[in-house]
């Protein structure tokens, strides 16, 4: 009997001490739910690297409100169902801040799930920080108080891109090629709508949808573009779907201008260099290397030398975490219920060039300066090349924050 008592007491002590660190909450945990295996792993890993980099930066300065930041990875395999399981797992681990970005289908599912979870569990206060999914529904029909997005939506990007394209007097025939899912349709739809309004004389000679990350040889698609006589291709493709498309185009000698949303993503610069498409591929995003802005060069340089085998990063992820940490410090609490009001309307000097952007409270969309750039051989004064290709992004046009403002249909339900 005495033995039993001692062992019970012992067991309880062990249990209690094991439970202590969790109770004390010395760390601020951030759940990163993105693909860490399978076809999307290459892009998912880049985000994870950057998040860890940012966490190490802030921890070296003493953390956020004195707490050390810890990033916990949850592999969602780019699948909406698996994502929900992983988000639940993160919540069970006591995490309130979920970072997710890749795949609009995933983002819509996660945002929905988080919103419902918060409704059913008052006080749970889970927030979804989205750094990459840009389907416009996320900030319109399906907007949520618990979802914030830092990348410009597909509509905003397409608005800016078509404003740039419409000045090109040689533009006559446009070919649209997109991945066959919600985001691809959103991009192609916006491009069609806006081109018809801005340049009614331009003919849209192709409107193609292909399956998401399933095509290995784009030569047949390129042959079709070639036959259509297009002089310009607009695509929302990302990852291997863009790299392979560009590669096939280079091999067939397809001579068109490319307007893309994700030519800066992993693998694409390598493909553009291989295809020899110097200054033919345009991208629109929230910042590039070689903008000559000291603080960005220093920080991005440190990140790229630490992850030299995949020297890619998202400027928007710096914006996102800097703003979230600022909001947490301002609120004096890392409970999203407390810091969300601080985040709404917050102004922030964007990472890439220090120009001001702001988080619109109406739809939780971050508005920021956007930049249109082309990839070509490094020129004098340019420090950074992409993926060790010797080619770097060169600025073609800058779109100030004011020109990116679009109306929203969001009717946000606030708790």
């Amino acid at each position: 009997m005495r033995n039993l008592l001692t062992s019970t007491a012992l067991a309880l002590t062990v249990l209690a001490s094991a439970g202590l660190p969790a109770m004390a909450q010395e760390t601020l945990k951030i759940g990163y739910v993105d693909p860490l295996s399978g076809g999307g792993a290459s892009i998912g890993q880049i985000g994870m690297n950057q998040l860890n980099f940012i966490a190490d930066e802030i921890n070296a300065k003493g953390g956020v409100n004195g707490k050390q930041v810890e990033v916990v990875g949850y592999d969602n395999q780019l699948n909406p169902q698996i994502s929900l399981v992983q988000v639940q797992k993160a919540i069970d681990d006591g995490i309130q801040i979920i970072v997710q970005g890749n795949g609009s289908s995933v983002a819509v599912a996660v945002s929905d799930f988080v919103t419902k979870y918060n409704e059913r569990n008052p006080g749970a206060n889970i927030v979804h920080l989205n750094y990459a999914a840009i389907d416009p529904v996320l900030t319109n029909e399906k907007c949520s108080y618990w979802h914030f997005t830092w990348d410009a939506s597909a509509d905003i990007k397409m608005e800016a891109l078509t404003n740039f394209i419409k000045e090109d007097q040689n533009l006559q025939k446009v070919y649209l090629i997109s991945q066959d899912y919600s985001f691809g349709h959103a991009v192609a739809g916006a491009a069609k709508r806006m081109l018809e309004a801005k340049r009614p004389d331009v003919e849209i000679v192709g409107d193609e949808y292909h399956p998401l990350v399933k095509i290995t040889d784009f030569a047949p698609y390129v042959a079709k573009i070639q036959a259509s006589g297009a002089d310009t291709v607009i695509t929302g493709n990302w990852g291997q779907d863009l790299a392979l498309l560009i590669k096939a185009a280079g091999q067939a000698g397809l001579d068109v201008n490319w307007y893309t949303l994700y030519a800066g993503g992993a693998g694409a610069p390598t493909a553009i260099k291989q295809a020899g498409l110097e200054n033919k591929v345009f991208q629109i995003n929230e910042g590039i290397n070689n903008q000559g802005y000291g603080p960005a060069e220093e920080r991005a340089g440190a990140l790229m030398s630490r992850f030299s085998d995949a020297p890619v990063y998202y400027p928007r992820m710096f914006n996102m975490m800097d703003m979230v940490f600022a909001a947490i410090e301002e609120a004096g609490s890392d409970d999203p219920g407390d810091f969300i009001p601080k985040l709404e309307g917050m102004k922030h000097d964007s990472f890439a060039a220090g120009d001001e952007g702001f988080m619109r409270a109406d739809d939780h969309q971050f508005f920021q300066p956007l930049y249109i750039s082309t990839l070509g051989a490094l020129e004098d004064g340019q420090k950074f090349d992409e993926e060790h290709t010797g080619w770097g992004w060169k600025m073609a046009a800058a779109v100030p924050t004011e020109s990116t403002l679009l109306e929203t249909t969001c009717e946000m339900e606030r708790p």
Partner: protein, 316 residues
Amino acid sequence: MIEIIVVSTLNGVLYGMLLFLMASGLTVIFSMMGVLNLAHASFYMLGAFFGFEITRRIGFWPALVVAPLLVGAIGMAVERYGLRRVHSHGHVAELLFTFGLTFVIKEVVEMIWGKLPADYRVPGSLDFAAFTLFSSDYPAFRLFVLLVSIAIFLALLLVIKRTRIGLIVQAALTHPGMVGMLGHNVDRIFMLVFGVGVALAAVAGVIAGPILITQSNMAGLLGPILFVVVVVGGLGSLGGAFAASLLIGLVQTFAVAFNVSLADLFGSTAAGEVLSVWLSDIWRVTVAQVAPILPYLLLVLILIFRPRGLMGTRDT
């Protein structure tokens, strides 16, 4: 229109020949050893990465020879020390073994070369346009890939039909038990066939790497379609694998070229109005959109109507 047809035919044949390089090894291994080698596409990936690495250090031409030999040697070692031991535990164990192998190979590749695509380029000596068809260039390297594939197909045919080794392999395809009874070293034949089979996949990797993508998920992209080729072509039939590869290559490229949907075909007829309601989901989907699914549709149809495949010699 003519332009699309000619270019699609060339592209389709090329893609088909690449598929054949991989499927030939798979089908022979499958029919001889009864092992569905799930890791076959992984050896294709190994071929591409070895090719990339050797090209970077010595050059493309040595890579074309050395990489398949290396991968073939690895394949033989896998057969000798892995598959053969597992063999006594039955087919399920073999299947699981090759399934596990895909993950091991993928992880090793990611550890060495990372998850990003490798910068594997077309060799300089073949980096020009072979000829210009209508308005598009046809790259010399693609022509080279086509010629290599055809040469390998002919060589394989010759070996199988005209040599003693080929005779035994052929016999083993249809009567594996009897060949063993006749005193041939079936184990060694198996090892050889496995090695040659994966070496062929590696050749495909070395020459397809620069055209397609050299990345750690490339095996996953091509793996499933290989099984379609093997099943459609028929078990143990090289001719069948050849026909099925070309068929799938052509079906896929031609389907992409056409924007025909059910709405275009029946839209104006009376039946069209009824159909458009019932088939609302797929009414406006074009053939081009479903192109990548067509091979799998073919697989299902073949399994229903002709389970032994186009030119299969036996059912099991």
